[in-house]
Symmetry: C2
Subunit: 328 residues, 2 copies
């Protein structure tokens, strides 16, 4: 079923059929009606592939995702896909398992004439050399929630550094003085920036950072790190977890250890995943403004050229039950 079939059915030229489906094309309302009716009868739909070929605009945006352990990312992914649809774009989903190069995945995507690519974090740091300019080569590439120093890629992130400072301030404000950071993947900018902010504020306040073990953004790790901390006799009274998933592990470990939250120890996370709101946790956290970040990402990719890199969005404090003292 092609536009030619429709043109015959409607008694017009094939060009007219094309115009009827092109918003803003010069075509009389009457002709458009006839074409649309004929198309309806025949169940015709324009072939987006053919259109892409001639217009040189595929309308396709690559979404590259790694492991989806952290519930923050499926949500980001699905909201991004929706936002893309709202702009008339299509999302091509590509997975990246961390073993191969992101560049390879991008190359594969590029054969579909993608207009842009959004990379959702995995352990990006392991492959920076290849993530240089050749990658962008024509298509804008945006890192969501990661930054790669020394590379000229677009990027939209939460202000992790400021979030780290805020976490320190809040924990300090709750009265805690024996403070620990339970990190995530130490090779990621999110981990690094949050830690820098946290440690920086503490240093300025003259408070020692008790410990900062790091390994992975995972529940199990949060639990184990907390257990280890106590085995080592460190017994912090304030813990900043690198993200919410880790924080949940921290909280469950504290439960096992019999330490009361927030009476004995205050805990704060980062991300704002729905799970943290559950009655079993009531996690106080710094929420990433996902809606804004996604809007901004699309703006960076498709809007007028602006600052090429590192758009930062302040996190929002979500005050629940795991940090002691009064809400600031």
């Amino acid at each position: 079923m092609t536009s030619l079939d429709v043109s015959r059915e409607a008694g017009v030229s094939q060009s007219a059929v094309s115009r009827a489906f092109t918003p803003g094309a010069h075509i009389s309302p009457d002709t458009r009606r006839r074409v649309l009716d004929a198309a309806e009868r025949l169940g015709y739909q324009p072939n987006a592939i053919a259109r892409s070929l001639v217009t040189q605009r595929s309308g396709i945006v690559a979404l590259i995702v790694g492991e989806l352990h952290n519930p923050f990312y499926p949500q980001a992914l699905s909201q991004m896909a929706q936002a893309l649809e709202a702009r008339g774009k299509r999302a091509l989903l590509l997975t990246h398992d961390g073993r191969r190069d992101v560049q390879e995945t991008l190359d594969a995507a590029r054969s579909y004439q993608i207009e842009a690519a959004v990379v959702f974090p995995t352990r990006l740091s392991s492959t920076p050399p290849s993530l240089g300019d050749p990658l962008t080569d024509g298509v804008p590439v945006l890192l969501f929630n990661r930054q790669l120093p020394g590379h000229d890629l677009l990027s939209v992130s939460c202000d992790n550094h400021a979030g780290g400072r805020l976490a320190a301030q809040l924990l300090y404000g709750s009265g805690a003085r024996r403070l620990a950071f339970v990190g995530g993947d130490p090779d990621t900018s999110t981990h690094q920036d949050r830690l820098r902010g946290f440690a920086g504020w503490l240093a300025e306040a003259g408070v020692e950072l008790l410990a900062a073990p790091a390994r992975a953004f995972q529940y199990d790790w949060g639990m184990q790190a907390t257990l280890d901390l106590h085995t080592a006799g460190l017994r912090p009274d304030g813990i900043f977890a690198a993200n919410d998933i880790v924080a949940l592990g921290v909280l469950d470990a504290l439960r096992v250890l019999g330490r009361r939250v927030p009476d004995d120890v205050s805990v704060i996370g980062f991300d704002g995943i729905p799970e943290g709101a559950r009655a079993a946790y009531r996690l106080t956290t710094i929420r990433q403004p996902l809606d804004l970040m996604i809007e901004d990402a699309l703006e960076a990719l498709f809007g007028p050229p602006g600052p090429a890199t590192g758009r930062l969005h302040p996190g929002e404090l979500v005050w629940r039950g795991t940090v002691g003292g009064a809400q600031p």
Copy 2:
């Protein structure tokens, strides 16, 4: 950068360039080498859009997802995308918010000449009339983990009915006699089949089903339903939750109520999400064999025509700590 550019660089015809990139094409190793080298130098990649147009095979498969509240689905989605890539297909991600018709989403996808579509469940039941044959119209459509009676769609599911029976048997085996089902979305086949299996087995055993409240596949609902059950004085000693997410809510409610698991009450879930394995839950559950289901889905879509509908995979018992008695 087109095949013509490469042909000039390599000193061959444009056809030769095409053949060099077509596996199994008749081309001398020498010519192929020359072309590939030239392509490498110029950074050429075949245009998949143009290829799709002429071969009439886009290699694109639509993945239609709704809300991703249940962590089971992001995982299914990402594994499906990977499995597709392994077969040389591409995943076009489309969202379906439940307000609009699935048919609309599919129509939009079809303009990209998709070769197949996989629909991940949302509240599908609300739109059955439109999910008829016109939808399949050329492209095979597969419902993942849902069945739509009266429609001739492909479908791959866990054997929910058998799973429900197993849950009843296990709970009964643990000594429980006051049994409740905490349902999910009552309009879905997963909810319905699990309940039928559960209630059926109990009926045969002559055990009364205490209650079967249902609303949504969500943590909060699991919690609320359990609280309600106890407020109503029902105090079950065995609970089958419609899925794991609901089961976690059930467990947290029981914790709040001070009822010990599995001493006072046994709980079993369905799905096998990683979260259920956490120390805070140790949920006994019936795991859906995701890998097998995905393989089977691809087989149904791209393999030789087989039984058109309703492939069922038995769930696997994952014995952890929330059902009393010995492991069967």
